[in-house]
């Protein structure tokens, strides 16, 4: 149904007679505008001086701040008579935002390219014959923008009427209801009636996979999802088909959307066309309690909001943090939450002589553990903290084992020769946001797309905006940006270090070169030699300078950075093989075959995952959504989770369990509250006490002793086999299982 058809319908004599009959007083056609003054709006007269409103500075929309890179480039425009200074190149819409006027929009999104096809952002500009689309119009010096005039209002009402023409009236069964831009804006700017009487069009729904539910009839063709997919996610799966009223969004051929960021199209869709499939018909957004917390499924520490109702986590949505995840999150972060309901451990359990677990009370379970711990020699006690452990529980575990006389305590993903002495040797020194400055990347043994999807999105952003060169050393893998595959093993690194490889020139010519080393290398025996080669490359390419540190390690798990800060490094290679008492604190990816048959194994954790099969005692703990825990992300930024839901069954917070165990075992630890644990944490690693702040490493890693050991020619391995299932929570999730079955390339 196009514009012409609508117009001709309105002109039909029968229609007008009918309308006149309904409204005999009105000889004109019934108009749709809500107020009589909008019927024939005159363009606002060029009022020469009309500063009748107060000209005190107004707060920009969302408290945004304008950064002037060059003070001479500032231009002044007038928004509703109020003068604002903006940098050159700002659009009219951005100028209005700086002036504190929120312009309605559907297709415009600050992080995507400008399409200008929804026309909702029309404003009146003085001396322009027609209203202009403010998102696509650059602001010019002295421009007088009117956002509140009858012309602008009528334009919005008209656009709204056209958009609602083909939009189904299914708000009551729509998942977007309550947080829908179209709903809100039609209430604020729309008319109270429409002239459209024909059938609405309908569009076939598309199958985009197990995560995104589509109801394409609701689509208003803003093309945000198409632009997101091609610009941010870097997959060319979505596109626009057809023209006019036949226009629809879809995958060109029958295909699923295979991006690790696909869930973000749910957030950017202004209507209910793209909604979350697992969340479909589960809840209304006004029933949900939001808890602002952070994600632990990878080492990025994306800022999230957990929406819960009662004891159940119903969805996870991103929170804005420009330094870490901007406003996107990966699919694993967004959809792992159903794993929090499955396979949970809810009672302390002891394995009986028949090999079956029997639920017991906490007193009995702790007594059994304490007794077993006292029956072995101190050096036979081993503690391993898992991928999802918070810093508090790790320091308490270390303190407990130290008091028992053992120092065999380490974190998963850290091997005996991992460097934990120099902080710059294991964090991302450039910082995630700092990657945007780079103009050359060397990725060593890391697949950022599966290891840290948000870091990969930054690299992609840099590659597309700066045309940065990317060189990759490691096994063949998927990239969603241009890259050169330099080689598969450490020999390529040696070649680059010795200047024999063409890529070494690219690094030395780059202004802001970045080297990213994957934490999978920590598992290699020859990691010192590899790091020595990388140091050489860094020295030759001038990667580490006073104003730029481009030498990075990309960690794999949420707990890894804090574990290295706390010094949870294994003392010797064979400590697990000779253990008699093993304390696994959420450690599910440790090779349990290495644990001797006669060892007593305690598993403390929230999911019945791999290690439970070997455990003799199970102590149920709280998951990240249920506790207050400190986590440090790969760039060294300390953040905290907040409890969104109560703990399951009889489980307890991790640090409390070890604190209680220490008392039962007769080596009582000196803290009773989380505040006490945190002050202990501050003594060991002061940066873990600085919440929400990135603490850069103090010393450069070049202080390391030099190694002359030869590198092992075996190629680099793949650190993350399955992006969707990396830890106990995601392995328990049904949605993640569906994703890995359907979306992973075979």
């Amino acid at each position: 149904m196009g514009l012409g058809l609508l117009a001709s319908k309105a002109m039909r004599p029968t229609a007008s007679r009918l309308l006149n009959f309904q409204n005999p007083n009105n000889l004109l056609l019934r108009t749709i505008v809500s107020k009589p003054e909008l019927r024939k709006p005159e363009p606002a007269a060029a009022q020469p001086e009309a500063p009748l409103v107060d000209l005190s500075p107004r707060t920009p929309v969302g408290g945004a701040r304008v950064h002037f890179s060059n003070p001479e480039d500032a231009i002044e425009v007038f928004v509703d008579g109020f003068p604002v200074k903006i940098p050159k190149g700002f659009s009219v819409l951005q100028a209005c935002e700086v002036a504190g006027v929120d312009i309605p929009r559907f297709c415009y999104h600050s992080r995507l390219s400008i399409a200008g096809n929804c026309r909702m952002c029309l404003v009146e500009v003085e001396k322009s014959p027609k209203p202009v689309a403010s998102c696509a119009m650059p602001a010019l010096p002295g421009m007088k923008i009117k956002t509140d005039t009858p012309v602008a209002k009528k334009a919005r009402e008209g656009v709204m009427e056209f958009l609602l023409m083909n939009h189904p009236l299914d708000c009551p069964i729509c998942d977007q209801g309550g947080e829908c831009d179209l709903q809100d804006q039609s209430m604020a700017f729309g008319s109270d009636r429409g002239r459209f009487t024909d059938m609405k069009r309908s569009v076939v729904d598309k199958n985009l996979g197990p995560l995104v539910k589509t109801v394409m009839t609701r689509c208003i063709q803003c093309t945000r999802c198409v632009r997101f997919a091609s610009e941010v996610a870097g997959v060319q799966d979505l596109g626009m088909l057809g023209r006019g009223s036949g226009e629809e969004i879809g995958t060109y051929v029958e295909k699923l959307m295979t991006s690790e960021l696909s869930g973000n199209v749910i957030d950017i869709c202004p209507v209910g066309a793209l909604t979350s499939k697992p969340f479909a018909f589960k809840a209304r957004n006004w029933e949900l309690k939001g808890t602002e917390t952070i994600d632990v499924t990878d080492a990025v520490g994306s800022n999230i909001r957990i929406d819960s109702r009662g004891p159940e986590v119903l969805r996870i949505v991103p929170r804005l943090n420009e330094d870490i995840n901007e406003e996107w999150i990966s699919d694993k972060t967004r959809f792992c939450y159903d794993g929090l309901k499955r396979q949970r451990l809810n009672d302390p359990m002891i394995r009986g002589p028949d090999g079956r677990f029997k639920p017991v009370n906490w007193g009995d379970a702790l007594a059994v553990v304490a007794e077993a711990a006292h029956q072995v020699k101190p050096e036979e006690i081993v503690g391993i903290s898992g991928k999802l452990s918070d810093a508090e529980s790790m320091i308490v575990l270390k303190d407990f084992l130290n008091r028992m006389g053992s120092n065999n305590v380490w974190g998963e993903g850290i091997s005996e020769n991992t460097n934990a002495d120099l902080r710059s040797g294991y964090i991302m020194n450039t910082s995630i946001a700092g990657l945007e400055k780079a103009d050359a990347f060397l990725l060593v043994g890391t697949q950022p797309r599966v290891e840290a999807a948000m870091v990969n999105a930054r690299i992609r952003k840099t590659v597309t905006s700066n045309h940065a060169k990317v060189g990759y050393v490691g096994p063949a893998t998927d990239f969603n940006y241009d890259h050169q595959h330099l080689g598969t093993g450490p020999q390529t690194l040696v070649e680059i270090a010795e200047g024999r490889h063409p890529f070494s020139k690219i690094i030395s010519n780059a202004k802001h070169p970045v080297i990213i080393v994957g934490a999978g290398i920590f598992e290699r025996k020859d990691q010192d030699a590899i790091f020595a080669a990388i140091e050489t490359i860094a020295k030759q390419g001038n990667v580490v300078r006073s104003d730029w540190n481009g030498l990075n390690v990309l960690l794999l798990h949420a707990a890894q950075a804090a574990a290295l800060d706390l010094g949870l490094v294994p003392q010797s290679e064979k400590s697990l093989e000779s253990a008699k008492f093993v304390y696994l604190m959420g450690a599910d990816d440790t090779n349990i075959d290495k644990i001797p048959k006669d060892a007593f194994v305690v598993y403390q954790g929230h999911h019945g995952d791999k290690s439970v099969y070997r455990a003799d005692v199970i102590l149920p703990a709280a998951a990240f959504s249920e506790k207050e825990g400190t986590y440090e992300n790969t760039e060294g930024c300390t953040q905290q989770t907040w409890p969104a839901v109560p703990t399951v069954g009889d489980s307890r917070d991790d640090w409390k369990i070890i604190r209680a165990l220490s008392e039962v075992a007769g080596v009582r630890l000196p803290y009773d509250t989380i505040g006490g644990v945190r002050s202990r944490l501050r003594n060991v690693a002061p940066n873990l006490a600085q919440m929400d702040e990135r603490e850069p490493a103090a010393l450069p890693s070049s202080l390391r002793p030099t190694f002359t050991q030869k590198v092992d020619p075996t190629p680099f391995g793949v650190a993350v086999e399955n992006f969707y299932m990396t830890d106990a929570i995601t392995r328990a999730s049904k949605i993640m299982a569906q994703c890995s079955a359907m979306l992973l390339k075979k």
Partner: protein, 133 residues
């Protein structure tokens, strides 16, 4: 009804501790004598035995063994008698009995256990109790 309440007589107070003591024994005996009926009425054969219930009653009485004021003992006896009447008259339902005197008994045992573990810290007491305290 009003007549009945007016005519209801509270037995006179015990004169001394010895009399109160005898009354307690009398109450315990009558309670024990009613136990077979209770087992029958509430069908408790698969969850408890008579001797278990007897020791539960004894434990409930012993909980107050530190009281020496005969007036207080009389009042507690009165409340116990009232409870016994309610139980015997089937004014309660099965789950009341099971919850209070069969499963609740375990809680009582735990209390005794906790009383034994006087040396533990407040932290550990709270820890055994719940995650939020």
């Amino acid at each position: 009804m009003a007549q009945a309440i007016r005519n209801a007589k509270v037995p006179p107070n015990s004169v001394n501790l010895e009399e109160a003591r005898q009354r307690v024994f009398e109450f315990f005996r009558s309670a024990c004598r009613s136990l077979p009926t209770v087992m029958e009425v509430y069908n408790l054969y698969d969850v408890a035995t008579i001797s278990q219930l007897r020791s539960t009653i004894a434990a409930e009485i012993r909980k107050n063994d530190h009281i020496t004021n005969p007036k207080v003992i009389d009042l507690l006896l009165f409340k116990g008698l009232e409870e016994l009447k309610n139980v015997v008259n089937h004014s309660k339902q099965r789950h009341h009995i099971v919850g209070q005197y069969v499963v609740g008994r375990r809680g009582l045992e735990q209390q005794e256990l906790a009383a034994k573990e006087q040396g533990i810290s407040n932290f550990l007491k709270n820890f055994y109790n719940s995650n939020y305290s």
